[in-house]
Symmetry: D2
Subunit: 437 residues, 4 copies
Amino acid sequence: MSTTGAVWSANAVTPTPRELAERFQAVRRFTHLICEPLAVEDFVIQSMPDVSPAKWHLAHTSWFFERFILAPHASGYREHHPQYNYLFNSYYNTVGPQHCRVQRGILARPTVSEVYDYRFAVDEAMTRLIERADRTVFAAIAPLVELGLHHEQQHQELLVTDIKHIFSSNPLLPAYHKGRDEPKGATPPPMSWIGFDEGVRGIGRNADEGFCFDNETPRHRVFINAFEIASRPATNRDYLAFMEDGGYRAPQHWLSAGWATIQEQGWTQPIYWYRDPDRGDRWMQFTLAGPRPLALDEPVCHLSYFEADAYARWAGARLPTEAEWETAAADQPLRGNLAESQRFHPAPAPGADPANPLEQAYGDVWEWTSSQYSPYPGYKPLPGALGEYNGKFMCNQFVLRGGSCATPVPHMRLTYRNFFAPDARWQFTGLRLARDL
Amino acid sequence: MSTTGAVWSANAVTPTPRELAERFQAVRRFTHLICEPLAVEDFVIQSMPDVSPAKWHLAHTSWFFERFILAPHASGYREHHPQYNYLFNSYYNTVGPQHCRVQRGILARPTVSEVYDYRFAVDEAMTRLIERADRTVFAAIAPLVELGLHHEQQHQELLVTDIKHIFSSNPLLPAYHKGRDEPKGATPPPMSWIGFDEGVRGIGRNADEGFCFDNETPRHRVFINAFEIASRPATNRDYLAFMEDGGYRAPQHWLSAGWATIQEQGWTQPIYWYRDPDRGDRWMQFTLAGPRPLALDEPVCHLSYFEADAYARWAGARLPTEAEWETAAADQPLRGNLAESQRFHPAPAPGADPANPLEQAYGDVWEWTSSQYSPYPGYKPLPGALGEYNGKFMCNQFVLRGGSCATPVPHMRLTYRNFFAPDARWQFTGLRLARDL
Amino acid sequence: MSTTGAVWSANAVTPTPRELAERFQAVRRFTHLICEPLAVEDFVIQSMPDVSPAKWHLAHTSWFFERFILAPHASGYREHHPQYNYLFNSYYNTVGPQHCRVQRGILARPTVSEVYDYRFAVDEAMTRLIERADRTVFAAIAPLVELGLHHEQQHQELLVTDIKHIFSSNPLLPAYHKGRDEPKGATPPPMSWIGFDEGVRGIGRNADEGFCFDNETPRHRVFINAFEIASRPATNRDYLAFMEDGGYRAPQHWLSAGWATIQEQGWTQPIYWYRDPDRGDRWMQFTLAGPRPLALDEPVCHLSYFEADAYARWAGARLPTEAEWETAAADQPLRGNLAESQRFHPAPAPGADPANPLEQAYGDVWEWTSSQYSPYPGYKPLPGALGEYNGKFMCNQFVLRGGSCATPVPHMRLTYRNFFAPDARWQFTGLRLARDL
Amino acid sequence: MSTTGAVWSANAVTPTPRELAERFQAVRRFTHLICEPLAVEDFVIQSMPDVSPAKWHLAHTSWFFERFILAPHASGYREHHPQYNYLFNSYYNTVGPQHCRVQRGILARPTVSEVYDYRFAVDEAMTRLIERADRTVFAAIAPLVELGLHHEQQHQELLVTDIKHIFSSNPLLPAYHKGRDEPKGATPPPMSWIGFDEGVRGIGRNADEGFCFDNETPRHRVFINAFEIASRPATNRDYLAFMEDGGYRAPQHWLSAGWATIQEQGWTQPIYWYRDPDRGDRWMQFTLAGPRPLALDEPVCHLSYFEADAYARWAGARLPTEAEWETAAADQPLRGNLAESQRFHPAPAPGADPANPLEQAYGDVWEWTSSQYSPYPGYKPLPGALGEYNGKFMCNQFVLRGGSCATPVPHMRLTYRNFFAPDARWQFTGLRLARDL
């Protein structure tokens, strides 16, 4: 495992043990904050195969620290429970067999309280290890702790999206946090196009430029044709126009697999939209604050790749490639509607900042790109079990960029490559148009 | 609804309002007693489509009283929650649409505590209604209360068997009630055969002989050939001999559908049996007290019809028809290892009582009969929605007789017809051999 | 195998070898007659799992003679092809493994011509064996030949119904035999009821009364309550009234499994009915002579048990038990619209014969009874592999009586028990009402 | 439709009508040649959903000419049959609804003979149209005829691979062309590596460079890192080493979706390999000449992408990108073991040609690349229905390059992009290794 250090070790600023321990505790606490509004029963549910119960997220992220840091590096450490390695291993085949993913929702035990005990025991052992590590051990574990915290932050976002799906699947339509009103604002200015010249560009990140996942490495050159990209993501208003133009009934807009999917699944609108017969068939959307009328100026959200791609074709444009997206966003400041606000809902574009015309590059909604998820030239997965983290999913997935309203700020980067199957739509996923010049 | 009274009204002894209210409370309390050992998380799980979450049982049985008694008979009654009629209706199509059965396990809400509130509100309203009813109302509701309590008792048994399945599906193999040791006893005497002559027999029950379900009516004549029946149910020892003789690998013992089932499901032993590699491959069984070594003298339990039938054929015998079973058990006293002991596990035959040679006729294990579940000649389902209680299931099910260790005594009768699909095996189901004379 | 003789050997009149050989050839020839209108391509298709390709029927029936008669009894016989025992064994597990049933339609080879070669080779060997057998061998094989011929006749009916399904599944709606017009006749007289007294009746057949399948034995006594039965099967006119009264939308008429089936399958009429928008939405039916307008006076046909049962309940009646049917038909002459006419389509009731008021007891449509398919008291399956012929299917099937327009006359008997799963509807299946007195 | 001409019209040499008519007839005849060894029954079978019956291929390719050329351009043309547009449209949604793909194998009619009638009628009408067209019409149809012929050639390859799958699915393992022996030759020289420098390269083809599919356009620049590529495809000997090293049991070699696939499907070797217990468990392969012992020097064939990718990872290398493949093959002559030999089986590498060190670039086996199938920058699908030909499949597919032993020579090009789902393995698909420099 020690060689894994090489991938992240040269952070511009190496933290001290105390700094790292504090960061560890802060990230772990935010997970608890997300779970605070939940009833015990809410922690147990798996509403579809892609969703995991909240208590599974709590345990799995703890297992990650236990398995990859405490077990190999904390001398004398005894695993918390002999079967947790089986129950809470997600997909690391080289570490051992796993409990069947689609059956995570039939496990009443360990109870929520036992899972929190597990978390606290891991927290305590981790804090002790970080604070008391000698120089050699610290050098070995610091990059793993960094990885474990980014892993935890990924699951923070999944907790939010999984909870939203679980609540939406209940006919009672309960609210996770009631009373969070949507911000009122002026109607955003119309979308405009921002142009970029052709040329060879540098894309991705090298391991010595600070933490990143292995799939973002190495930085490499690509040739890009001239293109334009939209100043903001498509809105609910934009998408409604597509729907009202018969978008879901016109095969010519759709990929073949997308057309098959909407036929089989009976999709006629984004996942959390519905018409309310008691309000004159008004369009409603389910949010973590409960159901409310569709806000037309918000970025359209919870689209599958198929829907984003069909919309773009209908609009006479296309989705950007990930290299185009990264080129366009290269100079944008990393700020926006991200997880820290705890609104967990996309907001209308705030209005253009002349210095940064690419609005909402970060936060609000993940933006589908037209790039299928593939290794960068020269890509090497991490050695050992952690090599299963990213590389083995490079098949039948599309890349998304820019983070969402459920992504923690310190987890985000220009080069971040998120990826989902083209029919996934329970994440906060939207789109931004592009076109050739 | 009033005419339904006619079916049960002529109980030998009509209870007073107070007696009925006390019986109501006692039966409802026993449901809570069953749930006492559960953690909140345990109430939420649906481990397979046939299983319902414990909190669903708690709510559905309350809904039954609310929907069929309080709503039509308690003047001014307001339903507890506008959506519970949708969520907790099991299969009464004439009452309205229902939440999808296989998705009972994705509902976190209402919480366990809210479900108990529902129960207590129904209990209070029911008690008030029973105690304050005038003569006419009491005459109308008394038989419905009786039906509702038997319905509750059916769900008490399902609670026990569903909890057992839920706990067994968890790799942690938790115990519902630890430390319940199996009773030690002398080895029971060998099985013997009890003979009966051919002739016309009366089977079933008339509505004026005290409470029964509509499927037990009317009493009618059948012609039965001479037959013999075993003095006790087959034991684990008996069944192991079948397994060790290659029973699960020999198609000639099996119904065609049974052979297909064991191939597809990979069945090679009863559902809760497994070998423990840490104990020299000893046969173990999962029980509500946790895993323990297989006790050879106990009645074999948790068999599907397919397995019971194959065993009987291998043993050179057959299963009895339900008419034979009822003929053989006609004079047996209603006593045995039933739910009141709260052991919830079958026990070895206690040893023959010369006056009652048919051992364990009641309790321990439901006994599969060779009779497919069909209407008795002259059968009339209850009018209205309650007619959906039994009759509409008379297809692709087999009849079981005699009750089990999870059946409450006051719920049991000589003429009781339980029924399950031939591949069901999560109930306490075993068998007793029969043969032609 | 010799003991199997005991079951059929005591035919009232034992045939001579020549008689048996002639009967053998005649029955085999009729199979070829049925296949005459087929194109080579038609022989290959399996339009759904229950259907077998015509060439499979041709080969399987030949295999039956080869495997059960030629192999054990024709000295020096060499099997026609080493893999046909695998390819054309239907379900005799004790004889060996079988080609997967649902994949019968992916076998181009053996070709139709090779299959006919197989048939002719078996025919020749069988004829030689029958004609040259000494007394001992003849005594051993004669009952097996008899069984093989009845087996062939069963497959003659399946050939007709499978071909009908195959042709109906093709959007071109080809005709098997064009130009067979439906007979015109006077409107049949209204249905009337025929009553029978309660009492103990003899049902079934003993092995020494002439050929029958093992499932019809032994003759035994049953007690029957007084009942009435309809003078003729229900007609298309009758069934249309049920449909027009919303029969397929009213759950109270249906068994629970039936209601689930019609929801899942989207059934809203019998399988071969459809409305023709080019003829003012007139009701049409697909027949072996191609599509034609629905004839209202014909017996309703191609109903599943679920539909027959729902219709009966809607009509305020019920289906007869098989014992009632056999009681009612006991004195009827064995004649009617059976396979010999080669019309292969049910005809309107011809009008009452005062001596035989139970019209169309034989032929036209198989009549669903309310009896689930179970062993008769004292039933013993044939020994050896032939014991798999019937007994292992006694589960989740319902009994039908009386034969259809595709059943050969010499194959039919009063006691004949046909059986199908309750959702099967590609056979010529209808119903006759009954009710309690 | 006229604008489509722009895509192909500028062929270096425009054919005369007579030349085009002759080419049309020659290509159509080769289809018949492929079908010559088939029995009528062989034309009907669909052995899995991806496979189409041979007669469907014959009809669909004719429909393509009828629908896209005869109907719009042959004045007074009457369609051959009113329902063929429904039956033989493959996936052109904008042209109308289609018969369900997975049910192509339940259609006995039209018969093979009727399908040939259809072909001949289309051939005649096409020949007449081509020969008699005036200048304007010829300019409009010539590029469409070219497209139709390439379409026919694609189906020629599918005919071969579908027939192979159909024959292999039959337990009789029939041969399509018996007695085609594999060529004996010297053992090929060991694989070597060929290096290429980094730089911007031109990839793809412009419409004015001669016929190509729209997905190969436009020619565009890509930046490629320095790389090496193997001198020949991996062989059966190479792949056996992977298998014998436990390749199918070691999750670290596999994509996550690949590992799931081999578990679910139980794959432990390439699709047509099996061990023959009668030959000491020797490895055999099913070929179009029947089963024969595995030839170790042949290119490994019938691999899914998952298997090709896992093998490459195990071998310490990777698959090339399609840009790398096109760069490496740019100067290779277009020759090799292609369809014209009618061997339809890959052959061992013939031995290096110093002038063309990249052996077997064309023919033998399609080579999986690591590139997911995506649009080239600036890609525009054809207008109208023909735009559905390629673009709508750009999702969850991987690109293959170089053609196979079943690809006609005139159909092949350097820039040709074939594509299949990563679990497809019934095509002649193999791999060539690459690695970073």
